[in-house]
Amino acid sequence: MRDGPPMNAIAELAQVVRNDAPGRTPLFTRTGWALLVAALVVNCVLVPIAALVVPEGSPFALSAYGLTLAGKIMCYALCAVALDLVWGYCGVLSLGHGLFFALGGYAMGMYLMRQIGREGVYQSDLPDFMVFLDWKAFPWFWHGSDSFLWAIAMIVLVPGVIAFVFGWFAFRSRVKGVYLSIITQALTYAAMLLFFRNDTGFGGNNGFTDFKRILGFPITAPGTRVVLFMITGLALIGFLCLGRAIVNSKLGRVLTAIRDAETRVMFSGYNPVYFKLFIWTLSAVICGIAGALYVPQVGIINPSEMSPANSIEIAIWTAVGGRGTLIGPVIGAAAVSLAKSFFTQALPEYWLYMLGLIFILVTLYLPRGIAGLWMGKRK
């Protein structure tokens, strides 16, 4: 079965999504709904109160550090969920998701750089690094970056289009398994080298930093931070629900079938290319959004986010939490990141030992991750 025109595929997808399979599982169980509501309440009510209303020093107050850390971890969790969709449900292990994360971050960073205005060190309309390179005008790809809507479009489109084009070539040539992992790793490595160059036009080594405001609001103000946190939380909850809806649908079943026996799926008359392409592109877009939410909270984006090690770390969050369980990667990202912030402060020399051991022990003894542990007990 050679590929037909793409329209067929979309029609096919739509049909697959629309068709209600018999005996379909509900979107959430009763506990699931309760957890969802609880998460929403914590995110939209409790955290803002703890960060803004509760006086400092009270045991219930959330410090600026804690808020940023939590926001950062939620961005990581979003990445882990995105990777889980392709790896856990479709068997495609990407070691290049850091690239999409960074691209989203850079798209947001460009907008934030424009928001600095003339308050940079050189008091120029151009960002400091361009003045430093003696550039007289913005390069073409910076056009439109002063508009927030444009930035949002880029956050979605740049990772999406790159993932789509890459996936189109990769999945059509049936590149899969370890091959695909290595190629995605090479891709993010190449991109990292590219972004490290000063001439590429994205600030080289230092990347973007020293942001002042977002949409006119001062970026370090507590109010802005809380809003950013809430948006991140809502995005995480939203994409978890979307992911749940997808994996519960017939589309999700085809994806799982591709993971388990791609050849058989092909023989049953499905073209795996489009299914993979869909989930792959969606996953990249989610990662891009995570990156875009990460940058204003952390205040810096530089090419080291594209280093292959970062992408592998996303994979380990997913693996630790449990592949194919959506909520697992959230737990994994939180657990590993918290351990990292603890170790890098308390015992900096031992963090890499810890991380290395996590990689080894989880793959050897915990193939279904933390979530698998809990679910195994329940069964």
């Binding site: 790896w87 292990l93 070691l95 070539f169 990769a170 059509r172 040539s173 049936r174 590149v175 398994g177 370890v178 091959y179 992992s181 290595i182 190629i183 790793q185 090479a186 891709l187 490595y189 190449a190 080298l193 590219l194 490290f196 160059r197 050849t263 292959p308 592998i312 994979a315 380990i316 693996a319 020399e349 890499l352 030992y353 991380l355 290395g356 051991l357 996590i358 990689f359 080894i360 989880v362 793959t363 050897l364 193939p367």
Partner: protein
């Protein structure tokens, strides 16, 4: 032979006391700038020990001249001799002044000394002299050069002298000789002669040529083109050589991977760290030789090679026994677990040896290189690595194709169950094959330590490239890995002059990604009916 030297020495000693023409000596002492240089050239043309002694004395600031007495003196430790006759002089004339050596005169004197050196029988002394003449060919006397060329027995030196001669002629006035000289300069391999020709084709600010003679100009232009073409050829040769050198380094890094990944299907992200272990083993052996066997330091590599192989192989076997054997058939999990191992190994090395790079020195026989052309020198360390990687590839090929172990490895690769049925101890073979692949990585690290930095991050730089080489060549094919690595190396060295090193790397990576999507099985596909599992 001895008699000959004796005769020469005797002749030299009689020459030393022989008189020099007084008018020339006087011109050197009391003439103006041009006259002095003329005198120096005349002295140089004499090929006479006394003349040489005088020139050396002038250069050393020992000469004095008296206008009134019309005398040139050489004063050493307060004792004066007449420069022309060599006779001792009791009283130094009162108006005698030091002979001032300005830069122009100094150059002429040095050139003169070099022309004297050309007459010696020691080749290296003559070579030094030729090199000195090449720096300032226009101040050399042509007649003297003619004589030196006629006398010269070494073809290379004769050719270089010919070029110096041509350059000297260019400074003269004879048009026919100039044309002839330009023709000879076109044969030059040295880029410095290009500079001599440039004045012939340069323009004045008003647009007219500095050289009025059109024929000379055309000849000079043709000669410059010829030199440039040769320069391009040697740059091309350089690209090929450095490409092969980079490729052979990559090959050493990728060869172990071709066994563990290519044959066994184990994706070992800690492979780069096995390279690092090999490099650190080399460093430790070097340290041992320095403290305990300082006399044999130049041969530490001979001991380092087996040590590097063994240490990496042992680490590899430990990895296989403790982690990888539980993960056969689960490539993605293997990938993650071995990445964890690589983190552990990096941190271990940091803990024990520090995060800084350590210094591994080339043995003395590896420094220097062969000069192919003036702008192309092939360093010995790179040549040794190319030879070493060829040797290692040969050995690995022999092991895989001509030994029992190799037979077993190939059998297990092709059909594990069937191999097991006929009595091949598959688990044991896995372990040995993994150890072999790791050991080869250790050898790669040993070689890398000779051309690059040795630090905890050494392996990280190579892991992606070596995977690319294996995948590009075709998994499971030794020949594919060889072609893939060398191809990658040469391709990046060819791209570098146009795009810079970083962009070249990016272009190569993108090209591989595109290539693999066109041809996922790599350059050399495994023949057979292997369907994907």
């Amino acid at each position: 032979m001895r008699t000959f030297f004796f005769v020469v020495a005797l002749a030299l000693s009689t020459l030393a006391t022989a008189a020099l023409p007084p008018d020339v000596v006087l011109k050197l002492g009391t003439g103006d700038g041009d006259e002095r240089i003329e005198a120096v050239r005349a002295l140089a043309g004499m090929q006479d020990a006394a003349a040489r002694a005088l020139i050396e004395a002038v250069l050393a600031g020992q000469a004095q001249a008296s206008e009134a007495a019309k005398q040139v003196l050489v004063v050493v430790d307060g004792k004066a001799t007449d420069a022309a006759t060599g006779a001792a002089i009791a009283t130094i004339p009162p108006d005698a002044e030091d002979l001032v050596v300005n830069n122009r005169l100094r150059r002429a004197l040095e050139t003169a000394i070099a022309t004297f050196a050309l007459a010696t029988s020691d080749r290296s002394a003559r070579e030094t002299a030729v090199a000195a003449l090449e720096k300032d060919p226009q101040s050399v006397d042509e007649g003297m050069l003619d004589a030196a060329i006629a006398r010269e027995s070494d073809p290379e030196l004769r050719m270089r002298l010919g070029l110096v001669h041509a350059a000297a002629t260019l400074a003269g006035d004879d048009r026919a000789k100039k044309l002839d000289a330009i023709g000879r300069l076109a044969e030059s391999r040295s880029s410095s002669t290009r500079v001599l020709l440039l004045p012939f084709v340069e323009k004045n600010p008003d647009g007219s040529f500095k050289e009025a003679d059109g024929e000379l100009r055309a000849a000079a232009q043709a000669a410059i083109d010829a030199i440039d073409a040769r320069g391009r050829t040697s740059a091309l040769g350089g690209s090929v050589f450095y490409g092969i050198s980079l490729g052979s380094i990559l090959l050493l890094a990728a060869l172990g991977l071709a066994i563990t990944y290519g044959l066994m299907g184990v994706i070992n992200m800690a492979h780069g760290e096995l390279l690092m272990i090999g490099a650190y083993a080399t460093w430790l052996v070097q340290g041992f030789f320095r403290t305990h066997l300082p006399g044999a330091v130049d041969w530490y590599l001979a001991a380092a090679i087996p040590v590097a192989f063994a240490s990496a192989a042992i680490v590899g076997v430990i990895i296989e026994r403790t982690v990888i054997r539980y993960l056969y058939g689960r490539p993605l999990e293997t990938l993650l677990a071995t990445f964890g191992i690589s983190l552990l190994l990096i941190q271990l090395v940091r803990t024990f040896f520090g995060a800084q790079n350590v210094e591994v020195a080339n043995p003395s026989w590896m420094s220097g290189g062969i000069t192919i052309a003036t702008n192309l020198t092939l360093p010995w360390n790179r040549i040794s690595i190319i030879a070493f990687s060829a040797l290692v590839v040969g050995l690995v090929w022999l092991i895989l194709n001509k030994t029992r172990l190799g037979l077993f490895v190939r059998a297990v690769t092709q059909n594990r169950a069937m191999a097991s049925c006929v009595g091949v101890p598959t688990r044991r073979i896995d372990m040995l094959a993994f150890g072999l692949g790791s050991g080869v990585a250790g050898l790669g690290g040993c070689a890398l330590s000779q051309v690059g930095n040795v630090g905890p991050d050494l392996g990280q730089a190579f892991i992606i490239d070596s995977f690319m080489a294996v995948v590009l060549g075709g998994v499971g094919q030794l020949a594919g890995t060889v072609v893939g690595s060398l191809g990658l190396g040469v391709a990046s060295k060819f791209l570098e002059p146009f795009s810079g090193a970083v962009l070249a790397k990016i272009i190569v990576l993108v090209m591989i990604v595109l290539f693999i999507q066109r041809r996922p099985q790599g350059l050399f596909a495994l023949k057979g009916r292997a369907a994907d599992a």
